[in-house]
């Protein structure tokens, strides 16, 4: 049976889900709903409980990149004095806001925020939102994001959770004052329950990649990331992932892969190159190589949320999420993926302007290769800035790598 032979009902659901989301976002200010702009990792459940409509400028930057307008917005930011070496998500975000160019913005741009919320996991997210706070004259909530360094002992990590918890309590007090409403812990419990359900389903969806052939590739799950990032805690998101899971299960039962002929199973490291998804997907497919997993999407699998202790478990999840580790921590995680997903190779994308993701990447990949024998290739890309991407260079690296994998297959 061919790939096309099975309809993915979840695809239509996703399209509707995203369309409805943007419509609600657009209507929020008209309906008197407060809008908050949040970082990708943040205690967003707390804002949902307070009836904020949430938007995520990093995800929006990915949308801009996929629609091929991000490079232009990066250039706009540069015209305001921002160096081209700065994170391209931040440049896209600042360029689109400061230039006021709504015309080129996907979905007509993001509605004006009433509040900003971030976890301070990198300098650009902090500085970018600090600038937004100044520009829109709205408050910025910063939750400290310490790294779960390799050399911290369990008690020290628990102390980080305790400190996060204290910050969340502080945030609740701020939100009560800001909105003039009592914070409803019962609603938080409900929201966390749905977020947990979404996270568990997301985790199960990702784990479908363990099947041979894998029913989908990273180029599919990159698209499916949107609800877990932006609509976590929504019942509609639960339905979507349930449908996606059953679609994938059906594929698995018919042994239908994400690509027509799966010969190689690969790992994708780091943020997607949003503006090159189609080309990269075709490139790997031409080699019968399926990118079946990666650590990046696991970042949003907050499976340790707990409805009995909603606030504590949010604090916990913000310290323990998959990518918030040192080098050994991440190498351990990826090593397990290599084993569980029966991988043949690792594709490591160094996102040129994302220091958070590319620092330590050489060592992480080397450790995994040493432990598993799985070879790695490094390609240089970016999230949003097409100007730094060299198609011919990336292509020739992939060509050489696939040749190496072919030799290994022949030899084995």
């Amino acid at each position: 049976m061919t790939v096309q032979a099975l309809t993915m009902k979840s695809r239509d659901i996703l399209r509707d889900l995203i369309a409805t989301y943007w419509q609600q976002v657009k209507e929020a200010p008209l309906q008197g709903r407060r809008v908050a702009w949040c970082s990708g990792i943040s205690p967003m459940d707390l804002l949902k409980v307070m009836d904020f409509t949430l938007v995520f400028p990093e995800t929006y930057a990915a949308t801009c990149s996929a629609r091929k307008v991000s490079t232009m917005f990066c250039e706009r930011a540069e015209s305001f004095g921002y160096s081209p070496d700065i994170c391209s998500y931040a440049r896209n975000g600042l360029g689109s806001v400061l230039s006021g160019d709504v015309e080129h913005c996907p979905v007509g741009g993001l509605p004006r925020p009433d509040l900003l919320l971030i976890n301070s996991y990198c300098a650009p997210i902090t500085k970018w939102f600090e600038e937004l706070s100044r520009f829109f004259k709205v408050p910025l909530i910063i939750v400290e994001q310490p790294v779960r360094h390799d050399n911290l002992n369990p008690q020290e990590v628990e102390e980080l959770v305790r400190q996060s918890m204290q910050q969340l309590r502080d945030m609740v007090a701020f939100l009560e004052e800001f909105t003039g409403k009592r914070f409803d812990y019962d609603r938080l419990k409900e929201s966390v329950a749905v977020s947990l359900q979404c996270s568990l389903l997301w985790n199960e969806v990702l784990e479908m990649g363990k099947h041979i052939p894998a029913p989908f590739t990273c180029f599919d799950y990159f698209n499916s990331l949107f609800p877990i990032m932006c609509l976590r805690g929504e019942p509609a998101t639960v339905s979507y992932y349930q449908q996606l899971k059953s679609d994938l299960a059906e594929r698995v039962s018919h042994k239908i892969g994400g690509i027509p002929q799966e010969k190689y199973r690969l790992y994708w490291d780091n943020i997607p190159i949003w503006f090159k998804l189609r080309e990269l997907s075709q490139k790997f497919t031409s080699y019968n190589a399926s990118l079946v997993t990666g650590i990046y999407p696991y970042t949003w699998a907050f499976t340790d949320l707990d409805t009995k202790q909603p606030l504590e478990s949010i604090a916990h999840s913000m310290i323990y999420f998959a990518t918030n580790t040192g080098i050994r921590g991440r190498a351990d995680f990826i090593t397990k993926l290599v084993q569980d997903y029966s991988l043949d190779g690792l594709v490591a994308q160094s996102s040129r302007s994302c220091r958070l993701m590319n620092m330590g990447q050489y060592d992480i990949m080397n450790l995994v290769t040493q432990r598993t024998g799985c070879p790695a290739v490094f390609i240089e890309g970016d999230m949003c800035d097409e100007r730094v991407y060299s198609e011919s260079e990336v292509d020739s690296k992939i060509d050489a790598f696939m040749e190496l994998l072919a030799q290994r297959k022949r030899a084995s």
Binding site: I142, E144, V147, E159, Q166, R355, M359
Partner: protein, 375 residues
């Protein structure tokens, strides 16, 4: 002044071979601190010598195997020096999480060049929250406990207070030196000032205090004079030694450096530690109250305003900003700084460098800037 300066310059030229000798002579241990926010006083109070990692002048060769080329020079240069064996005199390392490259290079370092003592210091970004001070105090006490375990004995309140007093004395002496420079800028080469400050990062502060005393006696004898030369304040280079070639060029082109906002400069000593308060809390408060910094969030404290005041007090005509290539926090703050400086009519020039020296382009731009200031 020349003699003392020569001694300090020798220390800065080959800090690590001198530290090896010092260790042999004293039998004491040395802890390397990545810039900018390790509370050296706590390490000093443990009877250890804290030194600041300022990289090297040699070309980077080995670090490229571990870090992408678009990571800043200070991070790559320090790791490279370590990989070459140039830092084998270190018994320990402390890395403050000031930015993503600094927080993660610690992990790379620990993998390839582990030291007996190793500590990640998680300093907060937000200095304005009501828990900022208490969380940081707690983080400093975690450092203290780790050091106690390493040395096998307790660090007492008195140890801490004594060390803080010695460090404050050092800060006061440097304030006096900087005051003298403001009054007689023509007597001070920017390169020499950078050497004075950087040398203090590689020797016990007690010793440096004594040398600074000598130095100050030697300079106070000079007569005052007036000058027509353009006066500059230099800002930037947050994790490393400013390139002396560029400092020399500023003077060669006719300008005088009257003050600075450099890490190897005023930023290192500007804020004193309150000696009346609990020592760890006082050290944490220093971090909170310190000079504005691109790695921190401190609403209500404008860096541009701080620089404007610094330039006014130092009677400077303009500001030279040195941005280390790939220093993302600094690059992110620049547009706002630029806007603020132009509102205040404070002329400034931004140059970006990755330690490739005083290139032709830098010379041309500096020359035009200085000529403009001299009108």
């Amino acid at each position: 002044m020349k003699q003392t300066l020569k001694l300090l310059a020798d220390t800065t030229d080959s800090p690590y071979s001198r530290l090896k000798q010092w260790k042999k002579g004293t039998g004491r241990k040395v802890i390397g601190c990545f810039p900018m926010y390790v509370p050296e006083e706590i390490i000093h109070a443990a009877g250890l010598l804290p030194v600041v990692l300022l990289g090297q002048e040699q070309p980077i060769t080995l670090a490229d195997n571990y870090l992408q080329p678009y990571i800043c020079t200070p991070v790559r240069s320090n790791l490279d020096l370590s990989l070459k064996g140039g830092l084998d005199c270190l018994d320990g390392l402390v890395f403050p999480d000031i930015c993503e490259p600094a927080q993660m290079v610690s992990e790379v370092w620990n993998l390839h060049q582990p030291t007996p003592f190793f500590h990640n210091l998680m300093v907060p970004v937000n200095t304005s929250a009501n828990y900022s001070l208490s969380h940081l105090t707690q983080e400093f006490s975690r450092l203290k406990a780790a050091l106690e375990k390493f040395i096998g004995r307790a660090i007492t309140q008195k140890n801490l207070k004594d060390s803080i007093a010695i460090y404050n004395e050092h800060r006061r002496l440097l304030h006096r030196l900087y005051q003298l420079r403001r009054e007689h800028p023509e007597h001070f080469k920017a390169r020499d000032i950078a050497i004075v400050v950087s040398s203090s990062m590689f020797m016990p502060k007690e010793e440096h205090n004594w040398l600074l005393g000598q130095l100050l006696e030697e300079v106070t004898a000079k007569a005052s004079s007036s000058t027509e030369r353009a006066k500059l304040v230099i800002s930037g280079c947050f994790c490393d030694m400013p390139e002396v070639d560029i400092l020399d060029l500023v003077e060669e082109l006719g300008a005088l450096v009257v003050d600075d906002d450099l890490y190897v400069g005023r930023r290192y000593f500007q804020t004193l530690v309150n000696e009346q308060e609990d020592p760890l809390e006082a050290l944490a408060r220093r971090y909170i109250d310190d000079v504005p910094c691109p790695t921190k969030y401190h609403p209500g404290k404008e860096w541009g305003e701080y620089l404007q005041r610094l330039c006014r007090e130092a009677k400077a005509d303009g500001l030279l900003i040195i941005l280390i290539k790939y220093c993302e926090p600094h690059a992110l703050d620049y547009p706002r700084l630029k806007e603020r400086l132009s509102q205040d009519n404070l002329p400034h020039l931004l140059i970006e460098t990755d330690h490739s020296g005083a290139t032709g382009q830098i010379r041309t731009r500096l020359q035009a800037f200085i000529e403009m200031l001299q009108g």
